[in-house]
Subunit: 248 residues, 2 copies
DNA sequence: CGCGCTGTTGAAACTTGTCAAAGTTTGTGG
DNA sequence: CCACAAACTTTGACAAGTTTCAACAGCGCG
């Protein structure tokens, strides 16, 4: 039964997800843990999960049990209003966390959807709380992560509340660029995983407005766009775009 | 020296701020603590601080050390952009927490200003972390509070991203009404502590637009406004206002 | 290889911002 | 306690930015 053995080997290698081997180390875990502490962490991450493009990691209304660390891939989170209006509240990439919104009511308050084939680590929340009672560093790191999310949200509020369309898009592109850079990718060239409509929803704009802003940036030599492929040509101008105008 | 004694008595009564006696109990603390646990909590709250209208509780850039529970009064938090643009990110009333944004970088990322004479309890953050390692309930409660803040921010993003002016104002008034109700005040009648400009900044609108929306609501019999005094006349219509239109 | 989804572009309509002026309230100092 | 100044609010007319509607192009998937 050679097949049986092969399957087992694969299964084992999938299940064995140890944080100690994970290259997200610096992104989703606190630094400076002792060897034993890292071993404890390994037990924390109960399971990995693969998602195909378009699949939901969780949906609003589902019972909350775990937060998720993106191991690879790309996600969006969105909130729906009864009348059908939708707002994308964020895009998450490798090393970022999903599900923090669920802690407050023990029910997820938004949907998380994979925008490309992705993989996540599930971190059962009660385990995380237990372990952070033992490991100060972990506790503090987790608090920082939650706080960072709040600060990030304030940035989005600023964007939605005070910026005009082109400024919003510039801010969006610069933010992506910076996050790709932090992950070792090119700061100036990347593929967008989301549609114009999803960008628009995130930025509080209609997809046509987003499209026009892209075209305008291209005309002015700030970027080169072709569908989902973006190349930033003049990052300085893009930054300056954001600190001039007034509106609102 | 009868004076000396009197002064001491006053000082003591001011310093003695014990959470166990605090009527914010249900709002800012976890329920179901044992007597000993509550006593430990009492030690947590190091100092109260009184602020006059217009005074800053903290400013963006200052070193973060404590979070604050509003004991009485009313606050706003705002973020400033280099080019002078300002965004009010929230209004905080009795029983709500301030300062969570500072955890992430150990530096406050926004300004907190008292909109009326107020009083807060300072909760040194390292103490809070220490104690929540001992008291599970406190730990979990704190995580819920942070998460709730994230969910709240998503609500604001929804508001800013998908609602038109009148919907935003309706949502704002309903939110205030609900929070006043939770504190035992009238759901239908209250004084606004903030200016039209501050409301506008929070809602991503110009003060003139806010003023016009107020007038329009008044014309249509939804509310009665006179300066800062608001009376909600038709809460149902106000709610319906938010689930009809489309925009953005 | 064609159908559908996604993206682009144009023109008109609508919402909100801008500028300006006048009215109202609040706070302060005499 | 009044008077006056400063801050805040309201309202109007006009301008600007964004959405809406519509038509079409392109790419990608089945």
């Amino acid at each position: 039964m050679p097949n049986r053995k092969a399957v087992q080997a694969i299964t084992l290698s999938v299940v064995k997800t140890a944080c100690s081997n994970c290259n997200l180390h610096e992104l989703c875990l606190p630094l400076g843990l002792s060897h034993e502490e890292v071993e404890k962490l390994d037990e924390l991450v109960s399971a990995r999960r693969r998602l195909k493009r378009g699949e939901h990691l969780y949906r609003a209304g589902e019972t909350f049990g775990a937060i998720y660390a993106v191991r690879s891939g790309f996600f969006k989170t969105d909130v729906l209003l009864e009348d059908g209006r939708e707002q994308v509240t964020g895009f998450q990439m490798t090393g970022e966390l999903l599900g923090l919104d669920g802690i407050s009511t023990e029910t997820h308050s938004c949907n998380a959807v994979a925008l490309e084939d992705s993989e996540v680590c599930a971190i059962p929340f009660s385990h995380l709380e237990g372990l952070s009672r033992e490991i100060h560093t972990l506790q503090h790191h987790f608090h920082k992560v939650m706080s960072r999310e709040i600060v990030r949200d304030h940035g989005v509020m600023m964007l939605l509340g005070t910026m005009r369309a082109e400024e919003r898009l510039a801010a969006f592109l610069l933010n992506l660029s910076q996050r790709f850079t932090a992950r070792g990718y090119s700061p100036a060239e990347f593929y967008l995983r989301m549609t114009r409509e999803e960008i628009g929803s995130y930025l509080g704009l209609k997809l046509e407005t987003v499209s026009r802003a892209f075209s305008r940036f291209q005309e002015e030599g700030l970027i080169a766009v072709q569908q989902k492929h973006v190349r930033i040509l003049d990052i300085g101008k893009l930054k300056r775009l954001m600190s001039h105008h007034t509106r609102d």
